[in-house]
């Protein structure tokens, strides 16, 4: 028996009892590898997925023919090239956007934002292209759905505020954040996966949420759990949720 490990755990002085319950659970590497592989494939990291299959000695899921197109679509959306993205999505399966009006609208709105961005930053500040795109492409759709309309209105106010470089209010600033593109890109990715009959969302995401949900619930119901449960990501100084200042991080470094 490795006396070293024994002494390490015995050495941690005030270990929360819940920590033992945590330590008693032995996740299987196979499960972890599955979750990682699932993420790489469904979120579109083909090179990593391929290497991982080799290094971890596991099978690359075969059905994944769409991975390359999904990566290209994602890249196009991330780069703000919505036209290309839409073309590629339709090449893959025209049904996807036809059946998901909200997704299609989100893409068009992203395109509008890019247009506004480029119009207002051009020398002439001519906003005509943005206006005509909005009225031809988005307005008809917005008429069918109050949520779309709200989004469109908000987006259009960008036209007024964007040139006046000052501080944008939060919801307008958010429209310009890269995270909006990323969100739309991942919605598109999910929609493609669903259209192929795969599970939409990567397991990893559900897992992370489950962890969050479970912790929140446990704290709400005053379960006896440590104020902080560290994951041990090197620089991640996980902040306590309870206001007990003492770190209960019992991680073995």
């Amino acid at each position: 028996m490795s006396s070293s490990t024994v002494s390490v755990s015995a050495g941690t002085p005030t270990q929360h009892p819940f920590q033992r319950k945590i330590d008693d659970i032995k996740p299987s590497k196979t499960d972890i590898n599955f979750v990682v592989m699932d993420y790489l494939v469904s979120e579109g990291y083909p090179r990593a997925a391929e290497k991982f299959a080799k290094e971890a000695n596991i099978q690359l899921p075969l059905e994944e023919e769409s991975i390359q197109s999904r990566v290209e679509i994602r890249q196009a959306i991330h780069a703000g090239d919505i036209d290309t993205a839409v073309t590629k999505i339709n090449d893959l399966n025209p049904q996807i956007l036809d059946t998901d009006a909200a997704l299609h609208f989100a893409l068009l709105r992203l395109q509008l934002i890019e247009l506004i961005r480029s119009c207002t930053s051009s020398a002439t500040s001519d906003v005509t292209p943005a206006l005509s795109f909005a009225s031809s492409q988005l307005a008809p759709r917005a008429a069918t759905n109050p949520d779309f309309l709200k989004d469109l209105e908000l987006t259009m106010t960008l036209l007024i505020f964007l040139p006046a470089t000052g501080k944008l209010q939060k919801e307008l600033a958010e429209l310009l954040e890269p995270s909006l593109r990323r969100d739309v890109a991942s919605r598109v990715n999910e929609a493609i996966l669903m259209s192929m009959g795969a599970r939409g969302e990567a397991r990893m995401r559900s897992l992370v949420r489950l962890r969050q949900w479970a912790e929140t619930k446990a704290r709400e119901s005053n379960r006896d759990i440590p104020p902080v449960m560290s994951l041990g990501l090197q620089d991640a100084e996980e902040r306590p949720i309870g206001h007990n200042g003492e770190s209960a991080d019992v991680m073995v470094q």
Binding site: D31, A48, K51, E55, R181, R203, A214, M229, A236
Partner: protein, 644 residues
């Protein structure tokens, strides 16, 4: 007489209360069983249902329990009783609404353990010894057996607390020992018949009484706490809840009911369920939901399914899930589950570290760290590159800082990768050499891992022998059958498609008699292989002897066992077709590699598990904490629902 002629039975929670015959034991036992029921700890608060098909008056009652206090959490007595009773453990079943749940998995394991324990118990001890050994509770025996005490109100006593069984079961049958004296339990604990004041009433009589009609019949179906007296109809006492068939009213702690549903009588199927998430109870009649009957049930009260009847001869038959329920309880459970799933999906990510401001980046960090931690160097590199590409595409400006780079260039990661790769390829010697070179202390400090590696090497040698034998054999066969040459290749790769004829392997050193003298390419090849095989076999034996000698004096049981199993491989001509074949699987390399990797990490002062592993551990622990009183966690099976 009115009250006293009322009989009630509580359902025991498991099949573990077999009819006990010997009076002394049954006394002790009844008590224990009784007490065991409250401990439904760590429970699902799903509604559990019992359904019943009626003989005469039929009912289904369902019962759910959750939230017993932690102090009740044990059921030793219960186990003991079982062992002591030495009755057959009734067949285990999982009600459909619990299928796939973590709770059911736990119980199934417990059931297996119980069977194993019983086997062991029977083989080693006389039954009585066991049942008495534990019970401090045997002192306050539940008084019940056999006496017709008519008016006596039987108060159920609690057993002292034991700490043993971590998982509490669902109801499976009526509790033989926790009932009004004049109630008979029949049909494997599922049928309850009120026999009246004398045992002479027989079944025929009961049929007629029942068939007389509705008047005067009074049957209550419901649930009650552990202290409720059993001589009054369910619903009249505090902590007793019931739906009565004669008037369709519901009762709780009162003799005047509230209008609730239709009356019920012969052949009706009444279902009763508790939703432990909402702390409400409902009834169903013939598969139709009658709506919420009781609210604000006490979360920590252990409730038992209960039935009560008033007239001699009345008979009820219960279904605790052995058969499909009349009501579609599964759908209800599915809906509950879906609601919780939706809640989880809607959970917003809360950033806990500056380096992972949102969910995606957090996940990317988890993955990068895992890949680096476990030494998947190339994957980590590829992933990092792809992430950077993605971040570049996403960045509005070129000067955006690329979020992070995991330190993949870490020499240790590379070294560990080499070692892992060697093991996964089956090249144990190389792995040992690298480990010795880079981390000399690891093998010294972790003798058990060293031992496993050595055993694995032996297994790999056997594998090689097998492989070679297969090739020889197929070459041989193809030559003899003189079939077309293509056959050669196809059969050579097929490990199963050959008949063993060679007997020289594994130490029997006489040369193959069947090796004849026709000379063609195959033969040369074959000769070669035969020679190689012999050499390899000899080496394997020598290695095995060395291994045996090295650990011969090791006192540890697991080492001895491992050696025994490993060496047994040599006894088989073709170990792949033996019962030991699993040992030969290449899958077996993975745990060895992981264990060594972890040991190296520990020796480097790093955590032996990656962040994502800890995330899984925490999640499982939290979820089972949430499932403890039948809370929302009960609907989640982390491994099944999230990891596969």
């Amino acid at each position: 007489m009115r009250r006293s002629s009322y009989a009630a039975a509580l359902a025991g929670n498991t099949g573990s209360s077999p009819a006990n015959t010997a009076p002394t034991r049954s006394g002790a036992f009844s008590h224990l069983v009784n007490s065991s029921t409250p401990h439904t700890i760590s429970q699902h608060r799903h509604s559990r249902s019992i359904d019943a098909d009626g003989h005469h008056n039929s009912m289904s009652t369902s019962w759910g329990r959750g939230g017993a206090l932690p102090s009740y959490s044990s059921q030793t007595g219960h186990w003991q009783g079982l062992g002591g009773g030495a009755q057959d453990i009734p067949p285990f079943f999982v009600p459909s609404y619990l299928r796939g749940s973590k709770h059911a998995e736990k119980l199934q394991e417990a059931h297996k353990a119980k069977l194993a324990a019983q086997r062991e118990f029977r083989s080693t001890q006389s039954p009585n010894a066991g049942s008495l050994s534990t019970s401090s509770s045997s002192a306050n025996l539940h008084k019940l057996a056999g006496s017709h005490r008519g008016l006596t109100h039987e108060v159920i006593e609690r057993a002292p607390v034991f700490v043993d069984e971590p998982v509490s079961p669902w109801p499976m049958k009526w509790n033989e020992s926790d009932k009004f004296a004049q109630l008979d339990i029949e049909d494997g604990g599922r049928q309850a018949k009120f026999s009246g004041s004398q045992k002479t009433h027989d079944e025929a009589a009961s049929v007629t009484v029942v068939s007389k009609g509705k008047d005067g019949r009074m049957i209550g179906v419901g649930f009650s706490g552990p202290k409720v007296a059993l001589s009054r109809i369910p619903g009249w006492e505090p902590d007793s809840f019931a739906y009565h068939g004669d008037d369709g009213q519901i009762f709780n702690n009162t003799t005047s009911g509230k209008n609730y549903g239709p009356k019920f009588g012969t052949l009706d199927v009444i279902g009763c369920g508790i939703n432990f998430r909402t702390n409400t109870a409902f009834f169903t009649k013939n598969g139709h939901m009658l709506g919420t009957a009781f609210r604000d049930l006490k979360p920590n009260m252990p409730y038992y399914p209960t039935i009560g009847m008033k007239k001699p001869g009345e008979t009820l038959r219960a279904n605790f899930g052995q058969e499909p329920f009349a009501f579609d309880i599964d759908k209800m459970v599915q809906d509950e589950k879906a609601a919780i799933q939706e809640e989880i999906n809607q959970t917003k990510f809360i950033s806990s570290a500056a380096s992972a401001p949102d969910e995606t980046q957090f996940i990317h960090r988890l993955i990068s760290q895992y890949l680096a931690h476990d030494g998947y160097v190339e994957t980590a590199q590829a992933f990092a590159e792809e992430i950077v590409d993605e971040a570049r595409a996403l960045a509005n400006d070129d000067d955006t800082i690329i979020p992070y780079q995991e330190a993949v260039e870490d020499m240790d990661a590379l070294n560990r990768q080499k070692i892992r790769a060697a093991i996964l390829e089956g090249d144990i010697d190389r792995a040992l050499k690298h480990t010795q070179a880079y981390y000399p202390s690891v093998l010294r400090d972790n003798e058990n891992i060293y031992f496993k590696l050595r055993c694995r090497k032996f297994i790999e040698m056997i594998r090689d022998c097998n492989e070679l034998t297969t090739q020889c054999q197929s070459t041989h066969t193809s030559k003899h059958t003189a079939s077309n040459p293509n056959n050669h290749n196809s059969t050579a790769t097929d490990e199963y498609d050959f008949q063993m004829e060679l007997d020289e392997q594994f130490g029997v050193n006489n040369p193959t008699p069947s090796l004849d003298d026709t000379d063609d390419d195959d033969d040369d090849d074959l000769d070669d292989k035969q020679a190689k095989l012999q050499q390899l076999t000899a080496n394997t034996i020598a290695y095995g002897q060395e291994l045996g000698a090295e650990f011969a004096n090791d006192p540890r049981r697991e080492v001895k066992q491992a050696l025994k199993d490993t060496f047994a491989l040599i006894a088989y001509e073709n170990a792949k077709e033996s019962s030991l074949a699993p040992l030969l699987e290449t899958d077996g390399r993975v745990p060895v590699a992981e264990e060594l990797n972890s040991a190296i990490l520990v020796s480097l002062g790093k955590s032996s598990s990656a962040a994502i592993e800890r995330l899984v551990q925490q999640t499982e622990a939290l979820v089972s904490e949430l499932a403890e009183d039948g809370g929302p966690g009960a609907f989640i099976n982390v491994r099944k629902d999230f990891l596969q």
